[in-house]
């Protein structure tokens, strides 16, 4: 008989046992879809549930339906599965009465949540009230930290990319110095040469950014495919948005401008005769 540990709505670990005969007048439960899949149970089936660690046959429940919890990054590594049942049934099952882990309050439209939180916390009845936004903010703190880590790595990547581009552009400028020298002798202004070199550098940087964005789209798709399967979730792990694309091209253009200007300054420091190789 397949069994599975479950995390109940308040701190009880339950064991579910399937393929039991139906019993009239039993309670109804809703099970997490992944649990239903792993135990091959569906709506209408009868299961027996008992507290983990306790003997006996447990209590029979009918599967009323399955539920797919919304993707939650905070619970990504959770291995336990969840089921929902009426509180009186859980009280009967656990023999613990009039006890809950938390209350969730829905307010009337226009009600001031902050003042209610303040009033509830002022009662000093042994609980703590939180605004939903505060709970969300606290639970997302880890992801803010990871985002900062990603930003630091991105900054390093930009630095490495900029140094790479600068080295290549300087190489190019040195390779092209003869033709550029001829242009100067023919009367091309510094401004025109500057625009030519900077334009080429910006173009090169943006060509790199185009390939980079293409790679990012591919990698992002791969990351989502892999981690969604790995964690069995519908969460979006990686997203390349319009802002990211604009940022990539913006940074490429800025880096191209700076590096191109630097290369041109370096080129203009060479004397015409030196540039012509004489």
């Amino acid at each position: 008989m397949p069994t599975a540990p479950l995390q109940a709505a308040f701190p009880f670990l339950l064991t579910i046992m399937v393929a039991m005969p139906a019993v009239a007048g039993t309670g109804r439960v809703v099970v997490e879809d992944r649990l239903a899949t792993s135990l091959a149970i569906s709506a209408g089936d009868t299961v027996r549930i008992r507290l983990t660690g306790e003997g006996g046959a447990g209590m029979p429940f009918i599967i009323a339906g399955t539920h797919a919890p919304p993707p939650d990054p905070a619970g990504i590594s959770r291995t336990s599965r969840t089921l929902w049942m009426p509180l009186p049934d859980l009280e009967a099952l656990s023999d613990r009465h009039d006890r809950v882990s938390r209350f969730v309050l829905g307010l009337e439209p226009g009600a001031n949540a902050d003042s209610l939180v303040t009033a509830l916390n002022g009662t000093q009845l042994g609980f703590r009230a939180y605004h939903a936004d505060d709970v969300a903010s606290q639970s997302s703190e880890t992801f803010v930290v990871i985002s900062n880590f990603h930003k630091a790595i991105s900054f390093l990547s930009i630095l490495a990319g900029s140094a790479f581009l600068a080295a290549i552009v300087l190489l190019q400028v040195q390779e092209l110095r003869k033709s550029l020298g001829v242009l100067r002798v023919l009367g091309f202004s510094r401004r025109r040469i500057y625009l030519s070199v900077v334009g080429e550098t910006v173009l090169l940087a943006n060509a790199g950014a185009t390939i980079g964005v293409g790679l990012a789209l591919l990698v992002s798709r791969g990351v989502n495919l892999y981690y969604r399967r790995y964690f069995d979730t519908d969460l979006v792990f990686s997203a390349v948005t319009g802002t990211h694309v604009a940022l990539a091209f913006g940074i490429a253009t800025a880096v191209g401008l700076v590096v191109g200007s630097l290369a041109t300054v370096y080129l203009f420091r060479l004397q015409v005769n030196e540039v012509l190789g004489r």
Partner: protein, 407 residues
């Protein structure tokens, strides 16, 4: 000779070399940091698990220690089963919950077992040492945070309640406890107030299930009986864990390696991130050296042809180009090693700001081993990248190149 030429060639264009070395240094530093990231968390987990001194952990099935509020009911039967195994030296039952000491919530751990190594007493005595309890007061030990925030010292008393002060009016049943010692425990969260008390008292204050325990720890016998933290052979650990799981299907028992494996899931993201970024760093090193040397060799074809016409062999030319790559890589490695070391600290500080991380948890543990490994791998990648331009340089068509360059 070739080394001298190579160094001269590299230093001839200082600005270009400066940028190349900067890019290489960042690539080496990133690789070193990613190697540290891929091993740092495992090292931290290993250190914490080893420091506790118990090799086998028994939890409700499918859970990890401190992973849920689920409990093992009638935990004494698990303790008895473990004690019946000749490989087990001692056990410790632990029941973790939140209690209120005076007005503040504290993480309370009820324990039962002898010669515990879960925490270290740094002042006063352990709860076992306080015998007999004075005036019926139950002995407890606190961590330094709890002692400071509750304003108590060894010898003081506290009132413990299962619920917050307001609720205590409605639900009776607290306990007056005597602080017998201050302890240090490895996996406290930053700022966490921790209290350790006898299991029976915590069970009485928080009666979730008969004789409840969050988990049961077992220390196995070792050949080195003098060292309480010396780990038992892995085979023994696995054997004891398998025996418990066979006897209690509703429980999960973890040996050290099984627990590390279970934790891998939580580490997967960072390990894979480290692998991807390491690969990118190596690719950047390869690409940079390949591009720089290919363009550089193309730029100096005339010079190379002249050297060949003066009698320098293909091998010497190849050696010169490879030596250039080694000089660039060496400069990048020296700066990259220092940068990697500094960056590891910086990146670790970013990640350890994450909430719910125990004190002392590290993502990056700077070690020379990872730095040296990064230098070796980057060096190999750079030299591989230099091979093609080196071969191209050695095969230069002397008469044609000299003709083109002169005319």
């Amino acid at each position: 000779m070739m080394w001298r030429v190579a160094i001269r060639n590299v230093l001839r264009h200082r600005l270009r070399t400066g940028f190349s070395v900067a890019a290489l240094a960042i690539a080496v530093a990133l690789l070193a940091d990613m190697l540290m990231l891929s091993t740092g968390m495992e090292k931290t987990f290993n250190r914490v698990l080893s420091s506790v001194g118990y090799e086998v952990r028994v939890c409700p099935a499918g859970t990890l220690p401190f992973g849920t509020d689920a409990v093992i009911a009638e935990s004494a039967r698990v303790e008895r089963a473990l004690a019946g195994d000749a490989r087990v030296a001692r056990t410790l039952r632990v029941y973790g919950t939140t209690l209120y000491a005076d007005s503040l919530p504290v993480v309370a751990m009820g324990i039962a077992g002898e010669r515990q190594s879960l925490y270290r007493i740094i002042e006063g005595g352990d709860i076992d040492a306080a015998s007999p309890p004075r005036a019926g007061r139950v002995p407890v030990v606190l961590n330094a945070n709890a002692a400071a925030e509750l304003g108590v010292a060894v010898g003081d008393t506290l009132r413990l309640e299962a619920t917050a002060p307001g609720a205590a009016l409605a639900f009776s049943g607290g306990a007056t406890v005597l602080v017998t010692g201050i302890m240090d425990i490895d996996f406290d969260l930053p700022g966490q107030r921790t209290l350790v008390a006898p299991l029976a008292m915590v069970q009485r204050l928080r009666p979730t299930a008969p004789d409840a325990a969050s988990f049961v720890l077992a220390k196995l016998r070792t050949e080195d009986g003098d060292d309480p933290l010396a780990p038992a052979p892995a085979a023994d650990q696995r054997g004891v864990a398998a025996g418990i799981e066979a006897a209690f299907p509703e429980l999960s028992a973890y040996s050290m390696d099984a627990l590390m494996l279970a934790l891998q899931r939580q580490l997967a993201y960072f390990k894979q991130f480290a692998t991807i970024l390491s690969t990118i760093s190596l690719f950047i090193t390869f690409l940079l050296i390949a591009v720089l040397l290919t363009i550089g060799v193309g730029e100096r074809r005339g010079e190379i042809a002249a050297l060949r016409s003066m009698g320098f062999g293909q091998r010497s030319i190849r050696g010169m180009v490879l030596a250039e790559s080694i000089v660039l890589l060496a400069m990048g490695a020296v700066i990259g090693a220092g940068l990697g070391w500094l960056l590891a600290g910086y990146l670790d500080r970013i990640l350890t700001q994450s909430p719910s991380l125990p004190d002392g948890y590290r993502f990056f543990i700077p070690e020379w081993r990872e730095i040296v490994l990064a230098v070796i791998i980057s060096g190999a990648s750079g030299i591989a990248a230099a091979l093609l331009p080196a071969i191209q340089a050695a095969r230069v068509d002397i008469p044609r190149t000299l003709h083109e360059e002169v005319v």
